[in-house]
């Protein structure tokens, strides 16, 4: 009898190990980018021993231009085509950091321990290299397990709310506004000791398949508490979304008066939760 239990256990462990290693096979780490000492909000990817930087972000940070040429299938930075393989994740195009540095006449230093790639630009103008091979991108989104926050925003009601977004390979959530209110339609008030938080948002299907069930949204506060929204006071209803399709509306959450909203989280059945940082 004991013999058979052992077989089952070994089999289960084997299956677990195989699954976990498959999941880890294409793992990606996100690391910080600095340009001349200043950290960017966008992150770089460390994949297969190479560092990739988001094309548009590095161009903006260095005061240069970037472009994607769909006919020739190549990325252009600072007026020159980029060497090496590019990756598109969601709507962000990542290019090899070394090639980017070349085009920018910058040096890069990668510190694996600190999780950092540091660009240092030179002030001398450079000549474009003579032979440039074309860049062939993989346009299919690579599944990623973490989120790239593009902008952090203040949710102090005295300051205007700056839109924030988060995406994975299936959905992109954008929060365009957040406000704290004590009455809705002159009638609905929160329970004692609570306030209403109204979040205006959109959800886009950034995959190439129809998304039938677009998940559940929740708010997480500074205490780590998750809240469901009050449907009757909100206006955001489930829609099947075709590729590129966008749904939008607003959600009303009832939270303790001293709660600070930290994240909006989208839970779906096919991906880990997509977390959008509100601050």
């Amino acid at each position: 009898m004991k013999r058979h239990y052992h077989i089952i256990i070994y089999a289960a462990v084997a299956i677990f190990v195989i699954t976990m290693s498959l999941a880890r096979a294409s793992s990606i780490n996100y690391i910080t980018i600095t340009v001349d000492g200043k950290a960017l909000k966008e992150k770089a990817l460390f994949k297969d021993s190479y560092v990739y930087v988001p094309l548009d972000a590095i161009a903006a940070a260095t005061g240069t231009t970037s472009e994607w040429n769909p006919q020739k299938k190549r990325a252009i930075l600072n007026g020159m085509p980029l060497k090496g393989k590019a990756y598109k994740i969601g709507t962000v195009l990542y290019v090899p950091a070394i090639s980017a540095a070349q085009n920018l006449n910058a040096t890069i230093k990668v510190d694996h321990k600190k999780g950092l790639v540091a660009f240092a630009t030179r002030s001398v103008a450079i000549k474009p290299p003579t032979i440039i091979p074309t860049v062939t991108p993989t346009v299919k989104p690579t599944p990623i397990r973490t989120v790239i926050p593009t902008v952090t925003a203040s949710v102090n009601t005295n300051e205007p709310f700056i839109p924030v977004k988060a995406e994975n390979d299936v959905f992109k959530i954008t929060v365009t506004n957040l406000e704290s209110v004590n009455t809705i339609k002159g009638h609905y008030t929160p329970q004692a000791g609570k306030k209403f938080l109204v979040i205006y948002l959109s959800q886009q299907n950034v995959s190439n398949e129809v998304q039938i069930y677009t998940g559940k949204l929740a708010l997480v506060d500074n205490g780590g508490n998750a809240y469901e929204y009050m449907e009757a006071l909100s206006n955001f209803w489930l829609l099947v979304l075709r590729p590129g399709g966008i749904n939008f509306g607003y959600l009303v959450f009832e939270v303790p008066s001293n709660s600070v909203p930290m994240q909006v989280v989208l839970s779906t059945t096919t991906r880990p939760p997509l977390t959008l940082n509100l601050r």
């Binding site: 677009t214 449907e231 009757a232 489930l238 829609l239 099947v240 075709r242 399709g245 749904n247 059945t269």
Partner: protein, 435 residues
């Protein structure tokens, strides 16, 4: 060398094989050889739930080869959401996971979505089989319900629990003013003026108490030949729509004869307002809770008579199994046949969906002791459907907001409706994505 197999080993082996066999046979959803098990999802509560359960018992008795798992889907927390949206969410999730139920209640705009993603089997595909639904049978459904369940000329679902909007009024207050119920929107305005009581500048009793909602907006809109959506365009911000909202703004803020309220039903029972418009599903509550004599009249007419209705239909889901789909059809047919529909209507106060059910001896008897339902029944011939677009729920929200903005005077009726139309058109377009 002969091996000795211990009894425990053989026991485990037999157990394992039995489990395997059971697992394999579960796939076919067979509770017993030759029978089919299907699942029906519904949101009914209380007396309505009992009525559904009774019908299901009767179905299984008459169809011993079918077992139905009746599953009640409800909102975990009514403060967070209602039962129908909990059902819609569960349906979408189950379809995405390829494990839908076999039968479920559905709204017309859900059906549009489900057809688009190939999640349903149309009723139409069963019409010619044995246990079919011939032409005569199909024509027996009230035309508006048949139309509501038809998409691109094909009958996809069948009506189940339907109600229609009517005007409730406080008979004693009307009698005191020597008034009969208002038949037109102009009469509604003048009745409201006559019924409003003031103590100095303070209004102590309003002519009308109403919820500033998309459904209230819809009554005037439909009565004057207006529409919410045409094709993929929001058309409710038309001159008719603006006049509609202006009507309510005038009665609320100029005439001061209408009380906007988010507790309008309770306010009507407390006699804060003499007139209240809602669906026939309120009749049960009124009978129990109303302390005064109430009357029921059709919603006022304008250039035309056109009334909104509510409630769901029954859909058969694409499970990939012919056996299950056929069993699902037999259940849907059973629930909507003349006898059972009459029983359902009498038990719940929902409208009969078949003319034969309405005319049946049993139901006619019921009407004698429940005359309240007559007005709703008579109104059916003028009923008009609300939009079937999947974005309808969100568009309702935009119009709800516009209604409130105009009545609270934070925007003019025109501004409020234009904004709602802009959002609506935005969504109608954006939800389609790249197509």
């Amino acid at each position: 060398m002969k091996r000795n197999y211990p009894a425990s080993f053989i026991g485990s082996l037999i157990a394992a094989i039995t489990v395997l066999i059971l697992l394999c046979t579960q796939q076919g959803n067979s509770a017993s050889p030759g029978s089919t098990t299907i699942t029906m999802w519904h949101t009914m509560r209380g007396g309505h739930k009992e009525a559904v359960e009774e019908l299901l018992k009767k179905f299984m008795k008459e169809n011993p080869d079918i077992t139905v798992n009746l599953v009640n889907v409800s909102s975990r927390d009514p403060r967070m959401g209602n039962d129908y949206s909990a059902l819609y969410s569960k349906l979408l999730e189950s379809i995405a996971q390829k494990t839908p139920p076999d039968v479920a209640q559905v709204y017309e705009n859900w059906t549009t979505q489900f057809i688009d993603i190939n999640a349903l089997v149309p009723v139409d595909s069963f019409k010619n089989g044995k246990d079919g639904l011939d032409e005569k049978d199909q024509q027996d459904f009230f035309p508006i319900f048949k139309e509501a369940n038809t998409y691109n000329g094909k009958l996809w679902t069948l009506p189940f629990n339907k109600s229609i909007y009517v005007l409730y009024y406080n008979k004693s207050l009307f009698k005191a003013q020597n008034l009969s119920y208002p038949k037109t929107w102009d009469e509604l305005r003048t009745s409201a003026q006559k019924l409003t009581v003031r103590n100095g500048d303070e209004v102590t009793q309003y002519g009308i108490v109403f919820t500033p909602s998309v459904d209230m907006f819809g009554h005037y809109l439909y009565a004057h030949g207006g529409e919410f959506i045409s094709g993929d365009t929001a058309v409710f911000a038309s001159p008719t729509g603006v006049k509609d909202l202006e009507f309510w703004v005038q009665l609320t803020n100029t005439d001061r004869t209408a009380l906007p309220s988010f507790n309008a039903f309770d306010d009507f029972i407390k006699q804060k307002g003499a007139i209240y418009v809602d669906s026939t599903s309120r009749i049960g509550h009124l009978k129990k809770e109303c302390p005064f004599e109430y009357g029921i009249a059709p919603v006022p007419s304008g250039s035309t008579r056109s009334y909104q209705f509510a409630g769901t239909n029954l859909a058969i889901f694409n499970s990939g199994s012919d056996a299950r789909q056929n069993a699902a059809w037999r259940l849907v047919k059973f629930l909507t046949n003349t006898d059972n529909n009459a029983f359902w209507a009498m038990s719940t106060g929902y409208l009969p969906v078949r003319q034969s059910a309405a005319k049946s001896a049993k139901y006619q008897d019921y009407l004698k002791s429940h005359p309240d339902i007559n007005v709703g029944l008579q109104s059916l011939q003028y009923a008009k459907i609300q939009p079937k677009n999947p974005a309808w729920e969100s568009i309702r929200g935009f119009i709800n907001d516009a209604m409130y903005e105009a009545i609270s005077q934070t925007a003019t009726p025109s501004q409020a409706l234009e904004k709602a139309a802009m959002y609506s058109n935005g969504l109608l377009k954006s939800m389609k994505g790249k197509n």
